[in-house]
């Protein structure tokens, strides 16, 4: 049986990890490779890097980071942020990414999902979806959550899987930053309509939140950023608690 994955997410800006990471034993708290190695030691199952810079110049930096991290850290790496075309996907995979996450570009050019999946295989195409509930409906947002669309998130999830997405990374904007738990209903709704792994993101604050999203929504992975970076929770705390509740983790 597959283990449920616990996934730290790192925001990268111009080659540096953006949110101040608070591990005492690091000599350089902004260095993606050092932080990744520390997360590997802690038992993270996978790492997600989001490039939050906008320029092309910085995007090359992202490939360099992947190259460096994948030389020192031996677990699955998912890279997202600013992925616009097949060449972007190829560059990141070649640098050592295992999966590439597409978000806004998937909405503006859904063909990109199909092209990426056909060329590199479904397993390395992740579609990231930012969701906010508006008037009782889950709606897709793009451009780092800044732009609202009228696309129904549940329908969109179905559509991207049909087009070849091998995994979904779903962020609840309503829950993001609240630390009061994952959006269980959202993941239940999406899990009902797709048959690919789902990574839940947004709302993690305490160990029970992880247990809840695995038990109630049966997602495949749970992602968090600040609670891990600031040392409020360790990967190990989460795994112990989740395991105690009877969920299989590594």
């Amino acid at each position: 049986m597959l283990a449920k994955r616990i996934i730290p997410c790192l925001d990268v800006d111009d080659g540096r990890v953006k949110k101040g990471v608070n591990f005492v034993n690091l000599t350089d708290v902004g260095d993606p490779t050092e932080i990744s190695a520390e997360y590997q030691r802690q038992g993270a199952d996978e790492l997600v890097f989001l490039d939050i810079t906008a320029t092309n110049e910085h995007r090359k930096t992202m490939a360099d980071i992947v190259e460096s991290v994948s030389s020192q850290v031996f677990m699955p790496l998912t890279i997202g942020g600013g992925v616009h075309d097949v060449a972007d996907i190829q560059r990141l995979l070649k640098a050592g990414a295992d999966k590439v996450a597409i978000n806004s570009a998937a909405v503006s050019d859904p063909e990109l999902i199909t092209k990426g999946a056909e060329k590199f295989g479904n397993q390395c195409i992740v579609v990231a979806i930012d969701v906010q509930k508006t008037a009782g409906k889950y709606l897709v947002h793009t451009h780092g959550g800044k732009k609202a669309t009228d696309i129904d998130a549940i329908e969109w999830a179905k559509e991207v899987v049909k087009r070849g997405a091998g995994e979904l990374l779903i962020t609840s904007m309503d829950k993001d930053g609240t630390k009061n738990g994952f959006d269980i209903e959202l993941y239940q709704a999406i899990n009902k309509v797709v048959n690919v792994p789902i990574i839940a993101s947004g709302g993690a604050g305490k160990v029970e939140d992880f247990t809840e999203v695995f038990e109630k929504a049966d997602v495949d992975g749970a992602l968090a950023a600040s609670v891990f970076h600031f040392g409020e929770l360790s990967i190990n705390d989460v795994k112990q608690a989740v395991r105690k509740a009877g969920v299989v983790v590594r």
Binding site: M1, S70, S71, M75, G96, Q123, E167, D220, G221
Partner: protein, 206 residues
């Protein structure tokens, strides 16, 4: 030197990075002489069986790899590279493989679980070998097909609706269905174990 067979398959470079990290001398090559003279041959692979066999044939490497096996040189196939070691695959129509281990590669049957199997699964030992430390450990899998083979060639397995071989072996020919280069310290240890087996020529376990 470990020769990593270069036949334009997916992420072989991550495998090289793992060997480099472990200080194991390796080279990515499709040069027949180098492959035949290597201390061990690593057959990587990501993608589809049929396309991979076609690519090996295009580079005249099918007979080279068979010769490597007859020469008793250790071979390690990884993921699709492991599947290529078998007689045949049903992926996109019946295709012959290298035939170095008896068995066929078949689709993971639908037992209600998501396919591909993608993630960390827990190994259990089927028979004792230098890889015994894998027992109870999780390794990272990404695959939709599995090796249906004789129990005597199965070193370890994972459960995914059915029992799926994770390490297979026929004397000097070894295959890993998971990605050791993506399986953290457990995966690196397994590569080190393979290196030790190569150094001591310890392929007697089956």
């Amino acid at each position: 030197m470990f020769a990593i067979v270069d036949y334009d398959t997916g992420n072989t470079r991550n495998l090289m990075k793992a060997f480099n990290y472990l200080g194991i001398d390796n080279e990515l090559t499709d040069d027949k002489e180098k492959i035949l003279q290597a201390e061990a041959v690593i057959l990587p692979g990501v993608g589809a069986f049929k396309a991979a066999m076609a690519e090996l044939e295009k580079r005249n490497l099918v007979n080279t790899l068979k010769k490597v096996a007859t020469n008793k040189t250790p071979i390690l196939g990884i993921c699709l590279g492991m599947q290529l070691l078998f007689d045949s695959s049903q992926e996109y129509g019946l295709t012959n493989g290298l035939g170095l281990i008896t068995g066929s590669v078949e689709q993971i049957p639908d037992t209600g679980l998501k396919i591909p199997q993608m993630g960390w699964n827990q190994n259990r030992i089927i028979q004792n070998s230098p890889f015994d430390d894998i027992n109870g450990q999780f390794t990272y899998f990404v695959h939709s097909y599995y090796a249906n083979c004789d129990r005597r060639n199965i070193i370890s397995a994972v459960d995914y609706g059915i029992s799926i071989p994770s390490i297979v072996q026929n004397k000097n020919v070894i295959g890993m269905q998971f990605h050791p280069e993506k399986s953290g310290s457990v995966g690196l240890e397994l590569l080190k174990t393979f290196q030790k087996m190569v150094k001591t020529n310890d392929f007697s376990s089956n």
